[in-house]
Symmetry: C2
Subunit: 428 residues, 2 copies
């Protein structure tokens, strides 16, 4: 099912020919823009119209009440709640170490400079409903925001017919520390969060996954509010040698492939035997898989095995690919950690399947895809903070700097800049 490529074929097919993560179609953008413009212009009345039209049901109130949030707990299995709480603990523990402090760069009698790290004031988290209704999305997006100190963390997710949202999402929101939940989905949710209405308080930044309409809406409101990345299909690259278990390798490729027909799965190995046995295992394991149709489509069209002459070659290919997830199924996996330069997140050893990272281990599962790990990073506390620099000069410090500022400003022909210094020294 998973096709074998030479290293050159792999580069040509998956790296050189790589097309830009397919941009949103003009039609999708047009629809999104129309909805956004209407809600921006007409507020509540337009929002109501679109929620009725697209979500098919108008909730009594936008906001989930405290009572509704309380009731949701009784609708979720207790063991699942415990597991979500344990996952949240791990995610908090990991992300809390990301919190940075304000810094003083210079502090003398005459010069003070530094950088303030402060939370963004309000953040909106979009969480899909429907079939892809994932409590892990709530935890991964909300926990770093709460840890950053964002004072208003608002979540929004589509209303369901009975005027409710999925109880599991409400419980996850409570566990993560979300302040407010709206029952709004789709483009209209993004528009309401970006611009506000009579009832909805606008936010400064919007994060979270969604379908192509949500992605289009986020790309349109970007600039007026911040957004996170627009994610492409999920990816895993496994680096393995003959010591790896074909069972484990197959299971991890399948786990990735079951996400989406377009999910991409790669195996780089020095062992032809591993390739062959993994193929057999994939067929076997797919038999019992509920989402086998999706996984098989992905594995037969978006997948590659590459037989490499040594592990360094495998790592080189992975660095060129810059995939979202990398698994290192080798002995002594830590020895290879520093060599993997371009990756969203790295999973080390035979007992760290990527599924651990999706849910439980602590690192974030919102990660760069489509080669963007070359220049960008997974979601972290930093994404919910902003940095402001500051500078104080005394009269003496300005006096000492004056000549240099005037020289550079004059070179750049910005004489008003030079004057702003000179006027303070009585040289105007």
């Amino acid at each position: 099912m998973i096709r074998i490529y030479t290293s050159e074929q792999f580069i040509d097919t998956f790296i050189r020919s790589k097309n830009k993560a397919k941009s949103l179609s003009d039609d999708t953008l047009k629809i999104a823009k129309q909805v956004i413009d209407q809600i921006r212009l007409h507020g509540e009345s337009a929002l109501k119209e679109y929620v009725q039209k697209f979500d098919g049901y108008l909730p009594l109130n936008w906001e989930v009440t405290e009572e509704e949030r309380k009731q949701a707990w009784s609708k979720v299995d207790g063991e699942t709640i415990t597991s979500l709480q344990k996952a949240a603990d791990n995610i908090k523990k990991f992300h809390s170490k990301q919190i940075q402090q304000s810094k003083i760069m210079e502090l003398t009698e005459d010069i003070i400079s530094g950088q303030l790290y402060r939370p963004i004031e309000s953040v909106g988290i979009y969480v899909p409903g429907g079939t892809a209704c994932y409590p892990s999305t709530v935890l991964m997006n909300a926990i770093p925001a709460v840890l950053a100190g964002v004072s208003e963390v608002t979540m929004t997710t589509p209303v369901r017919e009975e005027d409710s949202i999925a109880p599991i999402l409400s419980v996850a929101a409570d566990i993560a520390g979300v302040n407010k939940i709206y029952k709004i989905g789709g483009i209209q949710a993004i528009a309401a969060l970006a611009y506000g209405t009579e009832q909805i308080v606008p936010v400064d930044k919007i994060v979270g996954p969604g379908n192509k309409y949500v992605a289009a809406a986020k790309s349109i409101v970007f600039g007026d509010v911040g957004i996170d990345m627009i994610a492409g299909p999920s990816e895993v690259a496994i680096i393995a040698d003959e010591t790896a278990s074909p069972k484990y390798v197959a299971a991890d490729l399948i786990a990735q492939a079951e996400h989406d027909e377009n999910a991409r799965t790669f195996l780089f190995t020095t062992s032809e035997k591993l390739i062959n046995e993994t193929k057999i295992e994939i067929v076997k394991q797919c038999e019992k898989l509920p989402r086998a149709i999706i996984a098989k489509k992905s594995l037969s069209t978006q997948s590659a095995s590459v037989l490499v002459s040594n592990i360094d070659q495998a790592i080189d290919l992975v660095n060129k690919l810059a995939p979202e997830h990398v698994e290192i199924q080798l002995d002594n996996p830590l020895l290879y950690l520093s060599k993997v330069k371009n990756a969203g997140s790295i999973f080390l050893g035979s007992y760290t399947p990527e599924a651990i990272g999706d849910y439980f281990g602590g690192p974030n599962h919102v990660l760069p895809t489509s080669g963007t790990a070359r220049f960008s990073s997974g979601l972290s506390v930093d994404d919910f903070m902003k940095k402001t620099t500051y500078l104080y000069y005394s009269e003496r410090a300005l006096c000492d700097a004056a000549l240099h500022v005037v020289n550079i400003a004059s070179e750049e022909k910005l004489i008003g800049h030079a004057r702003a210094v000179q006027v303070r020294l009585g040289n105007d």
Copy 2:
């Protein structure tokens, strides 16, 4: 010249009615896309064609030679060089404190997790030529990249008729530590840096200012490479009371206004006297200003004075505006630092004109505009680094986590994810 607004009028005019920083026109994007597509498809031959067409002159080699870089030093005034070196020292000193370290989040016998901070491998810096030929742009963009440890820092700037680039830019590049300089400008430079040609090595991220075509090109290649922000018009907001000097305030408003007809300048003060005297000073100081026409246009159309009842009100308006630069011309300016929540950079006291920050003080001058300081930050070493998380679980750790991962995966109906854990425990 600078119009007086009430607080309410100010909010309505400059904040509520705020339109999205004017997006790039369809025509501009269309032209940029065409050039990019051709260079991507045909490489060198297309690049040569467009450089000849748009820059008007085809350089002998794309890259500025070592000899040419050496010669540039003799063409720049020695005093200007000294000033640029002093500025570079300050910028390095400030930015070196931004460098972050890789972190270990957890380290036990059974679990290892952490986050690697590593440089982006290659970065391209676009530097305009022509009238806005600014060595400060080179320093502010290149120094953080060099400090981050980017191994290939490439600068590109338009060729001039005599097959050269502006010597001051070459000297600034040497001072900042730029590895390579190309003589290419405009859309074609962005396309070449993003996709490479037979001669040009592609980069992972492109930063630096440019005209609307450069901005459009950057927005198109984004996703295939990283980009920095697309900046709007420059802005300053001055908070001052009756102790402030109208001379200084006027000089700083003018310095901002001389950048661009669309530059925005705001004065928030408790003193009507200051407003009136500043107006008189502006007229006086503009008389001797080479760029008076630009400054006057900006000051008469993009400018506001607001008489506030107290300083807290001024700060509240500034936080709503989230301007690029804030000046606090009050006694004890440090007392107000923490109150200014949304700003790109803050300048404290009467002897810290923003011009010091543009060139010399150390903080970066590439800053968020148009209200985006609510959710984004100025250019820093972080923009040239990426974070990769990692996770190691032992068999025992996996065993302990298994039930929870299976519970959450089952809740999300991703059974392949559950199986990736179960298969390792022999429970498949």
